[in-house]
Assembly symmetry: none
Homo-oligomer: 196 residues x 4
Amino acid sequence: MAGASTERALGKGDLTRRRILDAAAAEIARHGPAGAGLGAIAEAAGLRTGSLYFHFPSKQHLISAVLEEGIRASLQRLDAAMAAPQRATPAERLRAGITAHLRALAELSDYAVVVLAPQFAALHREVPGFRALRREYLRRWAELVAAAQDDGTLPAGPDPAEVRDLLLGALNAAGLAGQPPARTAEVVAALLRLPS
Amino acid sequence: MAGASTERALGKGDLTRRRILDAAAAEIARHGPAGAGLGAIAEAAGLRTGSLYFHFPSKQHLISAVLEEGIRASLQRLDAAMAAPQRATPAERLRAGITAHLRALAELSDYAVVVLAPQFAALHREVPGFRALRREYLRRWAELVAAAQDDGTLPAGPDPAEVRDLLLGALNAAGLAGQPPARTAEVVAALLRLPS
Amino acid sequence: MAGASTERALGKGDLTRRRILDAAAAEIARHGPAGAGLGAIAEAAGLRTGSLYFHFPSKQHLISAVLEEGIRASLQRLDAAMAAPQRATPAERLRAGITAHLRALAELSDYAVVVLAPQFAALHREVPGFRALRREYLRRWAELVAAAQDDGTLPAGPDPAEVRDLLLGALNAAGLAGQPPARTAEVVAALLRLPS
Amino acid sequence: MAGASTERALGKGDLTRRRILDAAAAEIARHGPAGAGLGAIAEAAGLRTGSLYFHFPSKQHLISAVLEEGIRASLQRLDAAMAAPQRATPAERLRAGITAHLRALAELSDYAVVVLAPQFAALHREVPGFRALRREYLRRWAELVAAAQDDGTLPAGPDPAEVRDLLLGALNAAGLAGQPPARTAEVVAALLRLPS
DNA sequence: CATGAATGAGGGTTCATTCAT
DNA sequence: CATGAATGAACCCTCATTCAT
């Protein structure tokens, strides 16, 4: 959970900026936005407090940037997972989605905490565009679930959105707790009795 | 999720103290421990900042008290749920546990956030006895799951602890999001294909 | 120029607040708004920096309060001076106005600097009502001058407003420089050849 | 009052240096020495903050340079005015001095504010030689006044220094307020009843 | 010459805490 | 019991300054 970086996924940019973002994500994940001190973030990034202001105009902007990084990386991974073979069966695609989500959690690490944890709802509201992105993310998952229900893979009846929320709740809990993706995916599949 | 009180469950005590605890739980749930200002807590409780110190010796103690209230109320509810008829089948007891957990979340509201959210891990470590209580809580759930696996109600194979973590993750996500307990319990039962 | 107080003129109020205002007026008069440090102001008022925030919500508000005090005290003194016997000749009233203005400068001291100095124009714009008050102040002076011109006491011809600006410019320069009011009034009267 | 330059009066030199000085004079005139940020000065001069240090070793030196520019330009103008026909009558020379002073204010603009305003007394003390130059400036004015008093042009009796301070106070107020020199000079002459 | 980047000292502000009333 | 007032530490932020490029 320490020093996670979205480097590879986000392309190369200003290196210092990336170090600051990673440090900020870690601090925020651990202590919340209010408890994340610029001093601690700067130290973790290898510079002094005042220097942060050369890269970000304020703590608020830094926090927003962390959220945006997290969202961007999340969506990118989801795209990769969802763009998978459309000819796959709903069950296969559901499995792929679960695995992709768990892997994303593991790779995003601290960013995932900031993006997903309901404790940061207040934060989320302050970043323009965040809600739209998350809505899109959830919409795709609901489609995945609905397809699996139509197919008989998942029990028909329950609202796909509710099913999705429960499913993602379970995945997030395991992922944020640091469980290995592959193993967790298997257990989930077993519980849902997905055809192997 | 607003202004929740554990009054009934915790018995009557000092009324002002209870108002302060409720206000603190709400602030902490929304802004984290660092972001919960004594000023905001005092205002929500109907007094001035300095007056808090008549009821609690420090912010740390106040926060600890909130956690302890949450834990006490949680365990009390769990006891009620688990103390259910031992002659019931594992499936029935699992269902009862799920419903009880969801009801507890709904009733505990802000306290539940503070007790459950992994973001408050740092806090949890500072409250003596908290880990023991939670361990006991999780042990009982693991037993419930194991019994259901032995019984064929849940797929055998996966580690009961992992199953439990996924299950509680799903329940907590729904509960903290404000979903109605009864409805959520049904969806969960359907997904797990518990016998009705 | 040091530690001036408008105490008597403004009525009794919170004593600490007054001490802070006086200290702030002195600091601002000497170093400008930007150069007036809250540390220096607090020290001169006999408390610590943070304590200022119990009495004023921000440095901006403190500065505005200083301006308002200065304006209030100025107008009060002007009223007294202008309310003088209406049966007096224009020359007598002009003399009285000059003396009153010089005395006000001496008594207001640091507040006068803040209220009058054109360097604080930026400040003035931020205090609502300031401009209206000053306009009224200047209007009365223009009337005084016009009456003296009609009367032959002052040369007719020049715009009363321009005459007033020159006159007040001279008075302010002498007053802010700390010249004794009585003596300065005599020299001004001599230069303008006012009948003794 | 905006973007004034002493270019013509001071001869040609480094162009960038002149732009910086003009920008600094404007900033200082408007916000005081403490409120004049190097960032704002640099921007107005068309370069970045750090680049200022190629032209001036520190903010203090830059401010001193502004003052020196202002003084140099002032004295130069005064010399021109005073060096006028010695055979002129005191009244004529007084008139010429008044006009020259007003013209200098108009031309020096922001520099005049910095040089004249009593609020910058603290600054003045830090520039070696400033006081001597000003003393000389004031001495010449006092002579001018004394000659006019001996001559009967101005009322005898008052201390020439006091008369001079009042006169310059009036001129400076009008000049810094942006009044046109010629017109102001006429009004002043009328008030003092100088022979036309 | 000029700049991007970093720094440290200091400034304004918040906040948990104390205490006399 | 409660509050108004004060405090000091820590915080976020600004700014003059330096320096490698």
